[in-house]
């Protein structure tokens, strides 16, 4: 095996460089480190592999996974990913670039973030978007902290019990350490209960309220009256959204939300065992200066050319340190590019079609599953798109065992006595019928 391919140093180079720095050996570079901390023992690590050996290793690892037909959503949706996207994302000018602090040589990154912000605003109806966040749940946690910072001296944030379980858990973790009390708004008939919300608000001290646009049961929620109730208590109204569904459902802006957050994964990002995905956040104008994360703005350069820059940085950690609106530094820039290209290719019409195809498959599966007699409706008559909840009339363990054996990932139990299914446009009629016939046999 020759010299390691990522180290360009020849013996001559090392000698010349050591000479320049007046040292005799590479060990001398650590002469300031107390001797006891220099590790003498060999590291217990594998020996270097060649590329072919690495390929073989991963082929082996990949073979230990079982390919499944995915009929579960629950925050990660198996939508179609156009071939153009990975192709463009692999361009090294995007892939290997640093954060665009040097705007003169980062116009590519800055421009696509500006486009991303524009598209997120279009989908949500909100005024301004940041350059992206880690994922949906952490974006919701940031929104919770924003509500605290905006309303001052209040100590509670209310979460709908219909939010995805992962969102509730992450927001609660941040809240615990940030010194925020979390209240849960009960769910009635599969939707966040407005009277329960009003009762919680009446107790006072509420800085913000987070509710799902499409909830954990797949139900498209009706938020009539929500914003008024929340605003009457001078709290911020925050909607957690599925951006793919936003192409058809009422926008957070139309429901009167102050902040919209969610996970961009449903915009064609592959499942990849949970990441990288991308969180988004968009707000009403008046909350701009409290918004966390990077923001790109349009301006001109000294010759009058249109140029893009990171702007309003006085909110951020590298300037404000402990007084910053958030500690976020790296976002998920490349995944924001993913989403931007996806939305460019699909357009409003393509997204509408994705929703229509998925909803048709889901409605078909829903009705056929009820016909098997193995389920009953969990929330009769409630509107849904690609995801829906049912009450199993057979033991869940037995059901899942059978599905697993047949290579189907479906009927995820999200709480006692309730399972969910999800159908995207990637699921064929044959796959859906296959799932139904397996369930018939349970």
């Amino acid at each position: 095996m020759g010299q390691f391919a990522y180290f360009p140093h020849t013996g001559e180079d090392i000698k010349a460089m050591l000479e320049k720095v007046s040292l005799r050996s590479l060990e001398d570079l650590y002469s300031d480190v107390p001797e006891e901390f220099i590790r003498k023992e060999e590291y217990d690590l594998p020996e270097a592999l060649s590329e072919e050996e690495v390929r073989a290793r991963f082929a082996g690892l990949a073979a230990k996974n079982r390919p499944m037909k995915v009929f579960v959503g629950a925050g990660a949706y198996d939508h179609y990913a156009p071939s153009v996207i990975p192709y463009l994302l692999s361009r090294s000018e995007f892939l290997t670039a640093y954060t665009p602090y040097q705007c003169e040589i980062s116009q590519g990154t800055l421009r696509y973030i500006f486009e991303y912000q524009s598209m997120i605003c279009s989908l949500t109806g909100m005024d301004v978007s940041n350059a992206s966040m880690y994922d949906g749940p952490t974006a919701a946690a940031e929104a919770m902290m924003m509500a605290m910072a905006s309303t001052r001296k209040k100590s509670r944030v209310l979460l709908s019990g219909a939010l995805l379980p992962g969102v509730i858990k992450v927001v609660s973790t941040y809240a615990k350490f940030h010194g925020v009390a979390i209240g849960l708004i009960p769910v009635m008939g599969g939707q966040t209960c407005i009277n329960c919300l009003k009762a919680e608000l009446a107790k006072g001290d509420v800085a913000g309220v987070i509710v799902p646009s499409v909830n954990r049961y797949g139900i498209v929620e009706d938020h009539t009256g929500f914003a008024d109730a929340v605003h009457a208590e001078k709290a911020l109204f925050i909607e957690y959204c599925d951006p793919s569904a936003l192409a058809v459902v009422k926008t957070p802006a139309e429901w009167g939300a102050d902040i919209a957050v969610g996970d961009g994964q449903s915009l064609g990002i592959p499942l990849t065992y949970g990441g990288p995905y991308v969180g988004f956040m968009a707000v009403k104008k008046e909350h701009l200066r409290k918004m966390p994360g990077r923001i790109v703005g349009q301006t001109t350069d000294k010759e009058g050319k249109r140029a893009y820059v990171l702007t309003l940085q006085a909110r951020e950690q590298h300037i404000r340190r402990e007084k910053a609106t958030s500690n976020i530094c790296s976002n998920q820039s490349l995944m924001a590019l993913y989403v931007t290209i996806y939305l460019s290719l699909m357009g409003a019409e393509g997204l509408r079609e994705v929703n229509q195809l998925s909803a048709s498959g889901a409605a078909y599966l829903h009705d056929r599953l009820l016909e098997t007699g193995k389920f009953e409706e969990a929330f009769p008559g409630k509107p849904f798109l690609k995801e829906f909840a049912l009450r199993p009339l057979v033991p869940v363990e037995k059901l899942q065992e059978k599905l697993l054996a047949a290579g189907y990932f479906a009927a995820l139990q999200i709480e006692e006595g309730i399972v969910t299914f999800c159908v995207t446009e990637r699921r064929t009629k044959e796959e859906v019928d296959g799932l139904i016939s397996i369930i018939r046999e349970v």
């Binding site: 990522y6 360009p8 300031d32 901390f37 217990d44 594998p46 590329e51 690495v54 390929r55 690892l61 996974n65 499944m68 995915v70 153009v84 463009l88 361009r91 290997t96 670039a97 640093y98 040097q102 705007c103 003169e104 116009q107 590519g108 990154t109 524009s118 989908l123 109806g125 994922d135 952490t138 992962g166 992450v170 609660s172 973790t173 350490f177 940030h178 009706d222 009539t224 459902v249 926008t251 949970g274 990441g275 990288p276 349009q298 000294k302 702007t311 402990e322 910053a324 500690n327 976020i328 530094c329 820039s333 995944m335 590019l337 460019s344 357009g347 393509g350 048709s360 446009e425 064929t428």
Partner: protein, 492 residues
């Protein structure tokens, strides 16, 4: 690089699209009730696939990346991003896996997590890692949550302060504030290291811990680390290690051996995964064995029969910090890197990164002010030009001007105005993947820029001259924010 002045919206024409979807094989679903649907379709471009490919290819050509050229970017460890990493991360076998699938169907995935944890533990001298944080700052926050959770679980409720050096990365104090901790600043001495005498009076039973990076942000090894560790531990506090500066220690020194209890690593720095223009990163957090019960969940564990499963609940856990188990795609890349690197090359990462930094420092310190002499680690800080060309009516060239002039010569700028200890800070980190020829070319340009500054600082002050755009009007951008496409259009 050439200037290209289009937004994707400006290529739009009614009726075009760039997608390919199947025909509906199911009966059409009933439409949603009107009261639940949006009133207008979202404003998105209508463009063909060709439009999209050309547009983003053009945009990419206004960007600089590691594959384009050298990044002497202190604190950011912009090393080469190996291509085999990309090949592996893009394997279709990993792309289609849902994060909530049964553990029995994802044994290969879980093995990657488990093996990575064992390797990182060995490299850092810590015991257990969580991969759930999605970036470095997210890792810091998670590490501080673990720190607080440890104190809380012991009933030690009064530990609400965290000590942060004045030289620390901006994320350190910001992460502490998000975690509900009060930040107390400890000063640096003349020699750039933490002032132990300043630290001592800060240590009492209100201190949860100290956040450090070693070498620190000046690239200097904290030589009194042993005393610092024993003082902090004696006061009941924990030591947090900011892994942004792990690169020079690779294969030579382990944070765990220096007394650190908690640390994060930036897989997108030290472990060669691409920065992606600002993410996705990955910020795994490692802890000493006694802190493992407080790590966030879920987490991969190995069962007695050698299979892997996922630990979902543990009473003492700090909680859940991200949607699933972090950025698996990034973890795959870093795992590939470590398999390629192997134990025989580990130490070279540290040594070559330190050698390169010292080589640049010694080659330029006659023209750029070096505030603190002596051997540095992977990075060092200059405090501006020795001769900035300023006299009488003529303003001298600043660090910003040097940075902007570098762009004209095809180099990325160093990190500037950080750390805050020096007014004209210019922070340089070359990494181990740059050749002597590249470093020599950079040194030659830096010397040329110093000469220009001395003779005619205006050349620097006007720079960059030949980039796609020149210096932007940042004041206008902030005063009248145009943050989306329709902001720049009159109302229609």
């Amino acid at each position: 690089m050439k200037y290209y002045d289009k937004l994707i919206f400006e290529l739009s024409a009614e009726g075009r699209n760039g997608y390919s979807l199947p025909k509906n094989r199911f009966p059409s679903a009933n439409p949603l009730p009107k009261s639940l649907t949006r009133s207008e379709a979202p404003l998105l471009p209508q463009v063909s696939e060709v439009d999209v490919v050309r547009h983003y290819t053009n945009l990419s050509q206004m960007n600089f990346g590691v594959d384009t050229g050298f990044y002497p970017l202190g604190s950011c460890t912009m090393k080469y991003n190996p291509k085999i990493n990309e090949e592996i991360a893009n394997l279709p076998a990993f792309a289609g896996i849902h994060p909530l699938q049964d553990a029995s169907t994802v044994q290969g995935v879980l093995e990657v997590y488990y093996n990575m944890e064992r390797m990182l533990a060995e490299i850092t001298g810590l015991s257990a890692f969580t991969f759930n944080p999605c970036a470095g700052a997210h890792g810091e926050l998670t590490g501080l949550m673990v720190m607080r959770q440890y104190h809380l679980c012991r009933g030690d409720l009064g530990r609400t302060k965290v000590i942060v050096p004045d030289s620390a990365h901006g994320t350190n104090p910001a992460s502490a504030a998000v975690c509900g901790l009060e930040v107390v600043v400890v000063k640096s001495k003349e020699n750039g290291r933490i002032d132990v005498n300043d630290l001592k009076p800060l240590l009492d039973d209100t201190v949860a811990g100290i956040m450090m990076t070693n070498p620190n942000t000046l690239g200097l090894f904290e030589t009194e680390i042993k005393e610092i560790a024993s003082l902090v531990h004696a006061a009941g506090g924990l030591l947090y290690y900011d892994g942004a500066n792990m690169n020079p220690l690779m294969g030579v020194v382990r944070p765990g051996d220096m007394g650190f209890d908690i640390m994060h690593l930036n897989l997108h720095k030290t472990f060669s995964t691409p920065h992606g223009g600002g993410g996705p990163g990955s910020g795994p957090v490692g802890v000493a064995a006694y802190l493992e019960p407080y790590l966030p969940l879920p987490k991969v564990v190995r069962c007695d029969d050698g299979s892997f499963s996922i630990l979902q609940d543990r009473e003492t856990s700090a909680g859940k910090v991200s949607g699933f188990m972090g950025n698996f795609g990034v973890i795959l890349r870093a795992y590939t890197y470590l398999l390629m690197l192997g134990k025989e090359n580990l130490r070279k990462v540290g040594e070559f990164s330190v050698l390169g930094a010292n080589y640049i420092k010694e080659s330029l310190k006659d023209l750029y002010k070096l505030p603190i002499e002596g051997v540095c680690k992977h990075e060092f800080v200059f405090d501006g030009l020795v001769n900035d060309g300023g006299h009488d009516e003529v303003h001298g060239a600043t660090t910003l001007d040097v940075a902007k002039r570098l762009l004209d010569f095809g180099f990325h700028a160093p990190t500037i105005y950080f750390p805050l200890l020096f007014h004209q800070a210019l922070m340089i980190e070359p990494t181990e993947t740059e050749s002597k020829e590249t470093l020599d070319a950079f040194i030659a340009v830096m010397r040329e820029i110093a000469r220009e500054a001395a003779e005619d600082p205006a050349i620097l002050q006007e720079a960059p001259h030949n980039t796609p755009v020149r210096r932007p009007d940042e004041t206008a951008a902030a005063r009248n924010p145009i943050l989306k496409y329709t902001d720049s259009k009159p109302c229609e």
